[in-house]
């Protein structure tokens, strides 16, 4: 049983991945990626556009298979997980997602229960509790009876988070969860994710673009650069002026705020 305690929540070992293209060379995206997420970690995945962040998430969710190397979740190769069993453990908040019209938010969140469905036709008391809890945890309770077209960008994002939480995952993969959100909503979403991570022990891997937000909320950041892991560690140690200029092509200087926090200020 001690094995279970040390089993990584997610793991990539020597992963290469290239998108196959018709009549052209495959497009390489990930090269020799190694990483391990321990259970209960909150990790920010950083990197320029096209560095392979989304692909990495898709390998862990089972949407893609590595060209070579191993992608594993909870100690088992992703390919070997039965689809439903994997969906009960891994939830994805994608960058883009259609919310079909005509379903109330509560019904959409209930769709997150699908991998747990035990009744052919209806839902169980357990499903109801999980939906209620997911809505509460995502701060979307007041939206339960709304329809998708009645949601603002921030509300929509909260609903997507609730759908993912209804899956009761042990690993939550978030692809730019702060996309389209204003600063206050970005901060409150990340607070919420941090709280879920601490209270429920959910392992979180989130693609973020704002280096300061990532540093403020994630105890660990992984930086991808052209498909390789360029850095992996505590944000204050990893996000050096040097690395930022190499990976993102911009100059950022560390500034210590009045509360003693190290922030990166953009030099333009």
């Amino acid at each position: 049983m001690t094995v279970a305690l040390t089993t990584p929540a997610a793991e990539l070992r020597g992963v290469h991945f290239a998108y196959q293209r018709a009549h052209r060379e495959p497009l390489p995206v990930l090269r020799s990626v190694d990483l391990q997420l321990r259970p209960g970690e909150l990790v920010a995945l950083l990197g320029a556009n096209g560095s392979g962040k989304t692909t990495l998430l898709r390998l862990l969710s089972g949407a893609l298979r590595p060209g070579s190397g191993v992608a594993a979740v909870l100690g088992r190769t992703v390919r070997d997980w039965p689809r439903m069993a994997l969906a009960r453990r891994v939830a994805v908040l994608p960058q883009h997602m259609e919310l079909p019209e005509g379903f109330r938010v509560a019904e959409l969140v209930e769709m997150g229960r699908a991998p747990h469905a035990r009744r052919w036709f209806g839902s169980t008391a357990e499903d109801e509790q999980a939906v209620a809890r997911a809505l509460r945890d995502a701060d979307a309770e007041s939206l339960a009876d709304r329809y998708p077209q009645e949601l603002s960008g921030g509300e929509r994002q909260r609903v997507l988070v609730a759908m993912a939480l209804a899956q009761e995952p042990s690993l939550l993969l978030l692809d730019e969860p702060t996309l389209h959100l204003d600063l206050a909503h970005q901060v409150s979403l990340l607070h919420r994710l941090r709280r879920l991570n601490l209270q429920r022990g959910i392992t979180v891997l989130a693609v973020l673009h704002d280096l300061n937000l990532a540093a403020a909320f994630a105890p660990r950041v992984i930086v991808l650069d052209a498909g390789r892991v360029a850095a992996d560690g505590a944000p204050d140690e990893v996000l050096t002026t040097d690395l930022v200029s190499r990976v993102f092509g911009v100059r950022m200087e560390p500034v210590i705020s009045s509360s003693g926090r190290r922030n990166l200020a953009l030099e333009v």
Partner: protein, 372 residues
């Protein structure tokens, strides 16, 4: 919400799942209405039989109720041998087309999809046209033309095989690297349909004597309904009803998009194939016995989605009932038109097209509202 709890206000319970009352009202009401229109449709015709006698004959002969026979034997023959198979065929064909339309609209995430959209109609038409024209053109083929298999004539069998085969072909062509993309499927269906439609047109142009027969088949008609044909189509239609209904949850999940359905545990590519096959099986069976009846499969799911919402748990059975009711009524209309009746496809198009226009207007209006 936190403040609400703090002030002791009771949290509103979160409603999920299907309301039982709603399901009972929609399906119970629909079921009763369907039974009523079936009895009325069986009673009305060139030889009128009273509603009471009709109900009594149906109750006596179908349900085995102990009712004393007070009706003429001729009424029983008309009801049981002529009108009942036709009305039941209308019911099953209408239900099947509406259900297949519901599935294709969800699968293709396109509200304008109908059961014929990826080639069923064109394939079935080509099969039927071939079956009608070939024996006339090549006399040696005519020997086999009168034979039947499973209660179906050659034309019906070719229509069934043509519909099913075309969709299989379209699916295989649209598939690339183990995946089928919705847009590719639609475009492939369109292209293959165009080729087949051209071949049907060519057959009609060359067919001479068979022109009228091909044309009336294309319009869709229930005039050739019979017990043997119904015995062939009913099991196929009923089996696809049950198997499609059993997949309601996966159909709902597909509305979230392929990627998200996949991360919720759906084997998306397999599901698309299974749904396409089941819906096509129902459509081909329907088309084989009735020709290509339009608009039922487009309009019914659309209308019902507006009224009862997009949850396929209720939408699928409701579409079945709605399509059945619509086609029974439309066929009644087609039969009682003075002068010996018109093809039911004409009636559904006459009801369907104006409705379609209204729908387009409405969706344009709602889009404007969203842009506000």
């Amino acid at each position: 919400m936190r403040t609400a709890l703090a002030t002791g206000e009771a949290a509103r319970p979160i409603r999920i799942g299907l309301s039982l009352t709603r399901a009972l009202v929609v399906l119970g009401g629909g079921g009763l209405l369907l039974m009523a229109v079936v009895v009325v449709a069986v009673g009305i015709g060139s030889t009128p039989v009273s509603i009471g006698d009709t109900a009594a004959i149906l109750g006596h002969r179908l349900l085995g109720l102990p009712i004393a026979q007070t009706w003429p034997a001729s009424a029983e023959t008309i009801i049981l041998d002529i009108r009942l198979p036709r009305v039941l065929t209308a019911m099953l064909v209408g239900g099947g087309l509406a259900m297949a339309g519901t599935v294709f609209q969800a699968l293709l995430r396109n509200p304008l999809a109908d059961p014929y959209v990826i080639g069923t109609a064109a394939g079935a038409s080509f099969g039927a046209a071939l079956g009608i024209a070939a024996p006339l053109a090549v006399p040696s083929l005519a020997i086999g033309a009168g034979s039947s298999l499973l209660g179906l004539g050659v034309v019906q069998l070719l229509a069934f095989a043509g519909g099913l085969g075309t969709v299989l072909l379209v699916y295989a062509v649209a598939r690339s690297a183990g995946r089928v993309q919705v847009v590719t499927l639609l475009l492939t269906g369109y292209a293959v349909s165009s080729v087949l439609a051209a071949m049907v047109a060519l057959l009609m142009f060359l067919s001479g004597r068979a022109l009228g027969a091909i044309f009336s088949w294309l319009m869709g008609s229930l005039a050739n309904a019979s017990w043997p044909a119904l015995t062939f189509a009913a099991p196929l239609l009923l089996a696809s009803f049950v198997l499609l209904l059993a997949r309601w949850r996966r159909i709902n999940l597909l509305l979230l998009g392929d990627a998200q359905a996949g991360s919720l545990g759906v084997d998306v590519e397999r599901e698309k194939l299974v749904l396409t096959l089941l819906a096509t099986l129902a459509t081909s069976a329907a088309v084989a016995v009735s020709g290509t009846i339009g608009f039922v499969g487009l309009v019914v799911p659309h209308l019902l989605r507006l009224v009862i919402g997009p949850d396929h748990r209720l939408l699928l059975p409701a579409s079945m009932l709605g399509g059945a009711i619509l086609l029974v009524v439309a066929d009644l209309g087609a039969r009682v038109v003075p002068g010996g009746g018109i093809p039911v496809g004409v009636v559904t198009a006459l009801i369907g097209a104006p409705f379609f226009l209204w729908l387009l207007r409405r969706s344009r209006l709602s889009r404007i509202e969203l842009d506000r």
